[in-house]
Symmetry: C2
Subunit: 124 residues, 2 copies
Amino acid sequence: MPKSPGQILKNKSGYKINGSLWIEFKGLRFFGPGPVELLLLIRETGSIRQAAKKMEMSYQKAWAIIKTLNGQSSQPLVIVQSGGKKGGGTELTADALELISYYTQLRKRFESFLQNETKRMGAG
Amino acid sequence: MPKSPGQILKNKSGYKINGSLWIEFKGLRFFGPGPVELLLLIRETGSIRQAAKKMEMSYQKAWAIIKTLNGQSSQPLVIVQSGGKKGGGTELTADALELISYYTQLRKRFESFLQNETKRMGAG
């Protein structure tokens, strides 16, 4: 009978199986925790510049992420409005909100997997 | 009925849900794909220095990883023998092999989760 990790590891508790999840297109990662955070901050601030600042990310990098996301979608996920009565501002589309909601649900299912594996390990 | 990611994303196929897994102790990641690769290369080469070189990692960093792994285990995972008839060399213990085997099985279960989610997304 092989040893379980709970028998090999020194401490009786405090261990957790954890992980990260993302969507790839042909092997290239384009949607995961980082882009989700960026989109949520754009929704909060109405500005790519401010969202990037809050993530301590360059404006250029934030733009590159948005460009990739828009490029992977049938319709844009982020719409930049310049001028007009509202004086510009950047908005997420309904599709962006759907994709965030999908990711949140996916992460929840992953959490169940992780909790189950942590229990199974026997030192959580 | 909300749109699925398969309806939002532009391409009909080529997408994959992918991810990474590791073991944390009190929030600190100490065992995952990197340490597993390092251990396997130590087994292959019998040398921390050569294993580190193959991973393009500094010897110091490799040592720090080994020290952390040994520190998390009831018994050492890596044994450094100096001198003797065999002229030294570094070996993995049975516990190290068990832990690698556990991680490999865990990753397989994760692959099932990922494949299932990729199918569910509808654009895999």
